[in-house]
Symmetry: C2
Subunit: 428 residues, 2 copies
Amino acid sequence: FIILKSLDTLKYGVRTGHPRFFNQLSSGLDVVGLAGEWLTSTANSNMFTYEVSPVFVLMEEVLLKKMQNIVGWLEDEGDGIFCPGGTISNLYSILLARYHFYPEVKTRGMGALPQLALFTSEHSHYSLKKSAAVLGLGTDNMVMVKCDERGKMISAELEAAIVSTKKKGLVPIYVNATAGTTVYGAFDPLNDIADICHRHSLWMHVDAAWGGGLLISDRHRMKLQGIERAWSVTWNPHKMMGVPLQCSAILVKKRGLLKECNELGAEYLFQKDKHYDVSYDTGDKSIQCGRHVDAFKFWLMWKAKGSEGFEAQINKCLENAEYLYDQLQRRTDFKLVFDSKPEHCTVCFWYTPPSLRCLPAGPEKEAKLHQLAPWIKARMMEKGSAMVGYQPLGGKVNFFRCVLSNPATQQEDIDFLLDQIVQLGQYL
Amino acid sequence: FIILKSLDTLKYGVRTGHPRFFNQLSSGLDVVGLAGEWLTSTANSNMFTYEVSPVFVLMEEVLLKKMQNIVGWLEDEGDGIFCPGGTISNLYSILLARYHFYPEVKTRGMGALPQLALFTSEHSHYSLKKSAAVLGLGTDNMVMVKCDERGKMISAELEAAIVSTKKKGLVPIYVNATAGTTVYGAFDPLNDIADICHRHSLWMHVDAAWGGGLLISDRHRMKLQGIERAWSVTWNPHKMMGVPLQCSAILVKKRGLLKECNELGAEYLFQKDKHYDVSYDTGDKSIQCGRHVDAFKFWLMWKAKGSEGFEAQINKCLENAEYLYDQLQRRTDFKLVFDSKPEHCTVCFWYTPPSLRCLPAGPEKEAKLHQLAPWIKARMMEKGSAMVGYQPLGGKVNFFRCVLSNPATQQEDIDFLLDQIVQLGQYL
């Protein structure tokens, strides 16, 4: 009975691993990763101390070190921890920046601090604002810096914002640069931003939750040039590397800061008189107490496919994005939201059905186009043929955002998606 | 090769499901729960929206409603969300209390607020202090209220602390009462605390991460009398109910507050023009974006064993604790840390080996006793025979804290533990 119920659950669920699931940044289903997750749940363990999770704690350290090396930090730099998702990883980065400049905040709270200002681009992920709210900094103090047409932060705008914020009496402490924005897949100019952070002595964070995977690829890693200058980095292997959910890391350049910022030394857990080197008890670096084991599946996948395997996967996803881009350029019934080769695995576009093609440009056409994407998506979901996201942005009406992060997706799946949109659109 | 590596990982890991694993509040390995976790990882889904996780989102709502009913809230009250662990659940409670009294904090930050004060007992979990640090309230403003010998908050001390904090110019907003403390397993007097919170208009949170399971048992639920008066409750089914890690809920009495406090309405995820009732998109209530599916295994276990099954499990664990208590009282070489029947599944005690028995009470004996528990634990771990925690507390030297939350534990396992301690202790 229970087994039947369970299978029903999968039947009525959404098949996020399907090659025609283009809806979310995380997709695919890696069998080795899945085996890792099954073993993790069989171990039913917890990351707080080395004594409870000796193997997993060591694996986490190995993986974090490997990721720090790939980011490009020096041998004596680097620290980190796996977190329940990229939003919490980004939250850590602000928490650490605040503690770095004002360690008294831990005991005395924000009341002891001047009014702080943080900077991120208007195309960055909403977790930055959310974290500012949670940490008591306030969303108003997260300054949204303008982007260019392509969704990249304009560095001159960043510097102007810093200067004008200072004039208002606020104290800037933190800049988030995004490597792979959520919608356009854009990469902020990291070196320019690093220069500005250096000039104003600000904490530079890179949110590479979505773009971090590209560091593994020789062909694409130059898009993240300058990331080695960041003070902290968010990188979600559960996105571009296909690790099963959840697997996100916050990497921190300054060693020891995570522990200082978060440790409380609870005596029932972090006894100092244990019979082993208690520096392995990394749990007090966390803002959590118990913590899910997210490292093992990732470790296992890396062992199984090597960096080359990840690289091949990532390159293939980007080739798929380029293929979609080429198709969209070729077909007159589709229009790209911005007309340049995709830097990452998201492609944004409108479809104009026959019924709208002769309509003159203007508010009426825009309004109809706005309703089209949700309508087509709904029909697709009813048929169960494919799944793709849509959204408005700024002044732009609803467009499709197609994510190509599943290495199982083939070119025919992409053709299928476009044909499906055309087929459904003709009934309008 | 990969399979072999994986099995090695289990071999060198700690068997947290073993009936002689007495080390942590979460233990045991429920096969139905494990099957649920395996299916969850196969679905590889994410809790942000109904469109991506239709079944899991509905299951989460059903479970949260069930838990709210058990807490005792009215039909039109109650909200909640599953979180990555009890610490994050407790963090939510403070976040919500702050927002409830000062909604402007979301946009303007703590700078716009007076200096706030929070209250919890000195025996409460360290996550309360940690959350105060993270949220920017400061650990100094988390006032630690005195407890009695048994580890229960003294309500008169709470009221005195509130009054004196007000005199200092701080604004009290929040009291945490613990239902099942981490070390002693004590239950704070919830009704007395609720009266005080009512008098001073404070948010009352109950941290029932560890004790919440007892609500399912007719025999034990009176220990949490008054919990229905709380404004929020943390309850971890992964502790006393044996659900595989992780499974923790924050329950909130006031409906809609979670969403108001945390929502940002990101347009790429929470489109308003979807083809279904978007009130099912509960993801924006969270401080996370992506969120692990923690509901399914719990739902499956509840279907499989019913409330009666959970009740029988919990009653058995408490009987085991009473059995250990009886044995310790009977044996002259053991001494209880406090001499009253355990209210929950932790029992704290010292062992005095033959070599120390004739030593007069005093600093020398205390010092030797302090070293004993870590030494015995280390030997036990080397042998792999059992695992039990220890710690000092206040002026008390290291004592053993034995946790009996695994329903697979039998009385002979408890006898084994005590015999093992005696056997290892004789070599000293």
